[in-house]
Every structure is written in C-alpha cells, then in structure tokens.
Symmetry: C2
Subunit: 450 residues, 2 copies
C-alpha cells in the first residue's frame, strides 16, 4: 500500500475516492513533510548564516529560525498540543488550497505529518550525538572524568536546592511542586552545548571535554531525578526499585561501553570490511549507532546517550576519518531538523508581560532564571587540579536546559501538580537559558582559528 | 511536546501516565522506527552482499531482503492493510514485551511507525532519483530523446493492447476491467531500472540513457493512463479536462526544466556560494530537490520526476562532483529503505498454487507475465538510427513494473472493479517482472569494469 501512497498524488479526486482512509492520507502526508522540510532547511540556513555573520554560533540562528517558522510566529512548522490543531498550520492550509486536502482530513494529515517531523528531529539529534561521539576521544574524556563528575554533581545539587528552597520560601509553593521546580533546574542540554562547542572548535579542548562529560553525567542524573520526582508527584512516595534500576542500568551501560570499546571496534571493522557493495562502512556505522540508541532508550536511559556511546567507541577505529566525512552530509540534513524543531515548539507567548496571566509566572521566572544561570556558573569553581582552566567557560557551558528542560516542563504539565504560573515560569527559564548560552559561550571562549 | 517525546523513554510507567495519549505514543514510535530501520538496513546489506557475490545486481538482494523481513516471511517490517494490523508486526510484539507497549496502544503505534517508514522510503526514492539525475547528462538525454519516446510509446501501446484484448478474448473479462488490466501492464519502474543500470555502470551508456529516458516518458504516460482508467472505472466516462490538464502540466514541466536549466544552475550556485556555515552546498541542493519534488507532485505528476529534474539541472554545475560525493552517503542510508519496503510489502502468498483461491489468478498471471515481458522486449526493436545498439538490453530494461505497477494494483483493489483473481494476477505480474529484471539486465549487459 505504501508504494501506492507515493504515487497516488497523480489525481487526488480520483485516487482519494478509490483509496482507503489511511492510504488517502499518504500522498498529502508526504507533501506536508516535504514542505515542512523545505521550511525547516530554509529557516535553519538563513538563521545560521545571519547568526554567524553577527559573530554568534550558527546553532543560535537555527533555534531562532525555528522560532520564526514555529508556533510563536509564522506557524509553518507547528505541532499538535495546547490549543494547536491542523487549522493552525499554514502548510496544512496551503495543502488544502492547492492540493485538495479535504477539511475533515486536515487533522489526521497534520498529526501524522507532525509525528514524522518529530521522529526525523529525534533521528537528527541521534545523528548529532553520534557525530559528537566520533569527534570526542574516549581516553581524553576518561582523563577529565573526575572533574566532569564533580561539575555535574555541583551543577545538579546547587540549582536543585536553591530552586526548591527559594520556591518554598519566596513564593510559598508547597513541597512537592517546589521539588519539581528544583528538579527542572538541574538539566543540561548536551545537544545544544556540544553543537556550540563543536562550532567554536572547542569540543576537544580540556574545557570542552569537561563540559561534555559533565553534560552527559548531568543527563543521567537528570533522568534519575525525573523518575524520583515523577513518582513523588504520582504516588507521594519514591519508588526505590525503579530508581535502583535506573542507576544500575546507567552504570552498567557506561562501564560496558568503556570496557568493551576495543572489542566493539574490532567486531565493527571485521563486519564493515566484509562489505564489497556500495555504502558498507556508513551502513555498518548507522546500524551500530541505531542499535546503541535503541539499547540506551530500552534500558530507560536515552537514545542519544546510546548514540553518543556508539560514536565514542567507533572513534578508536582507523576508519574514523573516513567515517566522519561520510556522516557529515547526513548530519547536515538531519541535525537542523532537531534545532529548528526545538525553536518551533517554543511558545514565546508565555513571555509577553502584557498578558495579565503571564505576570505571576514572569516574577517566578526571573528568580528561576537567576538560579539556573548562577547555579551552573558556580560549577566552574568546583573544577580541581587545573589551575589555568577557563572556569567561566565551563560554568557557561552548563547553562542551556534545551530539550531536557522541556521534558521536565512536559511531565510537569501532564502531571497536573504545577500551577499554570509555575509551569510557564519553567518554560521561560528553559527558553532564556537555551537562547542565552550560545552567545555567552561565544564570549567566554576565544574566537576559533578560521 | 515533541522534544518531550524524545526523552520520555526514561520511565514509561511513570511518564506514560503523565503524558497525553498522543504524546505517550512518541517514544515507542521512535523505538519502532529505530528497530524497523535496523531490520531494513541489515536485510538490505545482507541481501546486497549475497546478490553481488552471486553475480546479480545488489538491488535484487535488497528487494529479496525486503521480502525476508516483510509480510511474506519474518513480519518484522509490515504495513497496515489487507488483514494486517499491529499484532502481526514482530517489532510491535517485541516493544510490547520489552518496552511496556500497552495492548491498546499497539495499533496506533504500529500505524504511525509504518507511516514514518513509508515517508522515509518515499524520501529515499526521491533521493535516488535526484542522484540518478545528477549522474545523468541533460544533453545526452536530449540526444536520445526521439528514440526514448518511441521506445516508451511502443512499450505502452503493445502491452496495453495485448493485455486488454487477451483478457477479453481468453478470460472473458468485461471491457472496463480488461482496460484496467491492460493499463497495469504499461508501467516501467524508473527506480529499479535506474538503480540496476547505475550498479552495472551502464547509466551513461547509449542504451542506459535510452532506457532512462523511456522510463521517464513511460512514467508520465502511465500517470495519464491511470487517470483515464480510474475515471472510466469511477464514472464510466473519461474526464477530458483532467487528462488535458495532466498532459499539459507534464509538457510544461519538462519544457521549463529543459529550457531554464542554465538559469536554475546560475541561481543555485549564486545562493550556495553565499553560505559560509557548514553544509551550505548540500542543503541548497536538498532544498532545490525537495521543492522540485513538491512541484512535481503538486501538478499531479510525481515527486520523483521533480527530484530527477532537479538532479538533471544541477548536473550542469561545476560543483557537480562535490555534490555527488555529498549526496552519496545520504543516498546510502535512505535509498535502501525504499527497496526493502517494496520487497517487504510484496505478499508472495498470492503465488502459492496450493491455495485453491490462487489458481484462477495464477493462470491469468502467466498470461499477463508473458505479455508484460514480451511486450516490453519488443521495444528494443523500435529503436532506430543506431545499428549496433544492444536492443535486447533496452527491451529488458523496460520490464520491471515495481512501485508504479503496485500503484495500479492498489487503485484497482480500491476501485472494486477488479475480481480477486484479476487483482492477484496483476500483483503477481508486478512481482515477477520486478524480481526478474535485475538478473536479466545483468545477463544482457556485459559485466562492468571493476
């Protein structure tokens, strides 16, 4: 049926009548996806170019480009959710106007198109982390392991405690929502930080490696905290077994990846070298990355951690340079989908002080943003054993909450324990830290050698 | 919500409860897509390697690999349709077993996962035709234009007339279904033919260019015929306006692409050269290809024709070699999804002679297959002006019906005018011609220089 979908665009009025309901969505979903991708790529390139010319990291421009085409502005790339359906999507309206999308088919087509773009953006961040893994060096990363762990721990503990206590003391929030607010402050976005570091040519510097290691440790800590907080929110108690399971699987996954890196390498090369048909190396690498991503997600960690581990492990092969060259164009067409989608999903309406309902949230948000930034900046001070290290850069590198922060906001919104004001404040904190970090990183790191 | 989906795999039991119904599908759809891709890539590589070692074109192995993981065998990569739902998908069962996919969520997750894989496979064939367009040469293709048009016309007329009249005379089929059967015999799969030609190193040979040109003309003729037949089936009369519109838009599209190739080129280079950030060239090319694919589909032709035209046009740029190198790894990870999906959707059960219901179809199928193969082989004789040309190769190159044949079968099944036996016979004809062409092409063309 699907090969059928591809071509049934030939005459909608005829073919739609003949096809089943599910199948009839097909060609219009493909058209919706194509138009969304064109919008995403144009926004990302325009944003990246402008940002780069103004001296900012390109990824900031991609995020802003996403905002431009997303729910806050042009409504080209929007996703189903709070008050948004297919009729809010300009692309769906365009398809209705020009390609005979029936009014009753708008919402199913919109939902499926959005789901495809979401999956593509998730595959994009998997490719990004795989590439970052390839660019990183396992032994360098292990060397800064202790510092990274300390940075991550401080970067989790300080914002968590300050956020929770501040919410209780200053805003009279009760204990469980206050803990949730504190937890939402702990995240660090590996995706955004690592991309900026890579763009600044700082990924392999000592500072870059500490930030990367700490962001990874932070991600794992964040997952554990989210599980604790969500079970607290749901049952009022903490589900110890599930926490032990998460911690255990994170430790085992990390140890296996580190200890068996050499064996993975050998096995990978042995398989990739067997292939005589086109695309053997890249396909073997992609299968390995996807499998590790699946394992990462299946043991309740994250797909992107698995993909990063896969890249880190393959980094040791002698085919690494060739592999990096092959993965580059794939990353170029998938990674922007992720950043533009993050921007597109960000609703700047919550920042508008002229809307009465936003004001309470804005006041809390100012506090949260201060804690979020200062709490992470402190982490730089925790780095030991390196007298001349750029402590400011490390602190700044930990600031962006990005997609991890949005997870907390999403779970918070779903659980119903957060007031609208608290929820809006968390989203504002995520927005500001995410958009502030790339230009700040640009300032604290010296300009890269061109 | 979507960035949220990405990470909410952390603890399904907790997060699922908190998230909305639509959102809760998210992480499992991603896992379903990842597992499907792993199955697809493994099947395609295994098939391609075996096929290549046995002296067949790799793409035959990818099709067979698709059959292996698809609805005819392992049920790893299956698609919703006749009698198939989420419970038939091994991957969904696996997700249920290991990732807490709830029984009531199986079908929505399955449908969305399948839709994503379908769109990816459609993007795969768009990338393939774009790449084929880049490898082709516009002026060479125009040189063989007259021959290609004659080959296409003969290859459409002979099977159509023989099929329609044979169905009426031998099997006492009434006029409209008989015309439908004849029409289904006219298609040629550009995807499969061009891929095999490329693998055999014959894409730029005189024969290869004639086959390619004829397959494109054939595709356009096929679209017109499908529109005629479908409107005949629906209303009993032919909708002249819609036919005129199709023919007109096809002619205008082709003329604009050919006449303005130079201007597209200049504009493309001017834009691509402006970019200073990473990935500028590939992104400009992809946006151009997607836009042309959209236009192709929007004027009721096909997305893949638009992508082919885009490649053909950019083929003239001086950045062509670099672009070909960049598109290669992208094609390597997207194109196999298309071929494996074609194989996976092919249900070989209709070929089983031990099932009583299949026998009537089998007898008709034998007739259709004979007409399908002989009718296209004759086209080689129609080539004029080239005394030494490999006429057999041209005839064989036109044989595979592939995805275009499946469109006819799909529309036929939807329209209700075909008996089960006729429908099964058409599907069998598509299967046999598709799977037979790659090894036959290998025989009629000399082995490529390694």
């Amino acid at each position: 049926m699907g090969a059928f979908l591809m071509n049934s665009g030939c005459n909608p009025s005829i073919v739609l009548a003949a096809a089943t309901e599910a199948a009839s969505q097909g060609p219009l979903v493909l058209l919706g996806v194509i138009l969304s991708l064109v919008a995403i790529y144009c926004a990302s390139k325009l944003g990246a170019e402008l940002s780069s010319r103004l001296g900012f990291p390109p990824v900031l421009g991609e995020l802003v480009g996403g905002v431009l085409v997303g729910v806050s502005a042009l409504h080209l790339v929007v996703f189903p959710g709070a008050g948004v359906d297919g009729n809010h999507s300009l692309i769906m309206q365009f398809l209705q106007l020009t390609n005979g999308l029936a009014p009753e088919a708008i919402n199913p087509t919109f939902t499926t198109t959005s789901e495809v773009i979401s999956v593509l953006s998730e595959l994009g961040v998997i490719v990004l982390l795989f590439e970052i893994g390839l660019e990183s060096n396992l032994s360098e990363l292990l060397k800064v392991g202790p510092q990274a762990l300390v940075v991550a721990t401080v970067g989790v503990a300080v914002p968590f405690l300050a956020g929770t206590m501040g919410a209780i003391a200053l805003f009279h929030v009760s204990a469980i929502p206050a803990i949730f607010v504190g937890a939402a402050l702990t995240a660090t976005s590996i995706g955004i930080t690592s991309k900026v570091l890579s763009e600044l040519g700082q990924l392999t510097s000592k500072e870059g490696q500490i930030i990367l290691g700490a962001a990874i440790a932070d991600d794992i800590l964040g997952i554990v905290i989210l599980a604790v907080v969500a079970s607290l929110a749901k049952k009022g108690t903490v589900d110890i077994t599930s926490i032990e399971y998460l911690v255990g699987s994170a430790v085992i996954f990390t140890l296996v990846a580190i200890l068996f890196a050499k064996y993975f390498n050998t096995a990978f090369l042995a398989i990739a070298n067997q292939f005589s048909t086109r695309g053997g190396l890249i396909m073997a690498a992609v299968v390995f990355a996807l499998t590790m991503a699946y394992i990462g997600a299946a043991i309740h960690l994250e797909a992107i951690l698995g993909a990063f581990a896969a890249g880190l492990v393959l980094d040791e092969t002698d085919k690494r340079e060739h592999l990096e060259e092959l993965i580059k164009p794939i990353a170029d067409v998938t990674v922007p989908i992720f950043f533009v989608t993050v921007g597109a999903k960000t609703n700047f309406a919550v920042l508008n002080p002229f809307i009465e309902d936003n004001r309470e949230g804005l006041v809390i948000a100012i506090f949260l943003i201060a804690v979020a930034i200062l709490g992470k900046m402190l982490t730089g001070l925790a780095v030991f054993g390196h007298a001349k290290i750029n402590r400011l850069a490390i602190g700044v590198g930990m600031i962006p909450r990005g997609e991890v922060g949005l997870v907390f906001a999403g779970v918070g919104a779903g659980s119903g324990i957060l007031s609208d004001a608290l929820n809006a404040a968390i989203i504002m904190m995520v927005i500001i830290t995410t958009f502030l970090a790339p230009p700040l990183l640009r300032v604290v790191f010296p300009r890269p050698v061109p």
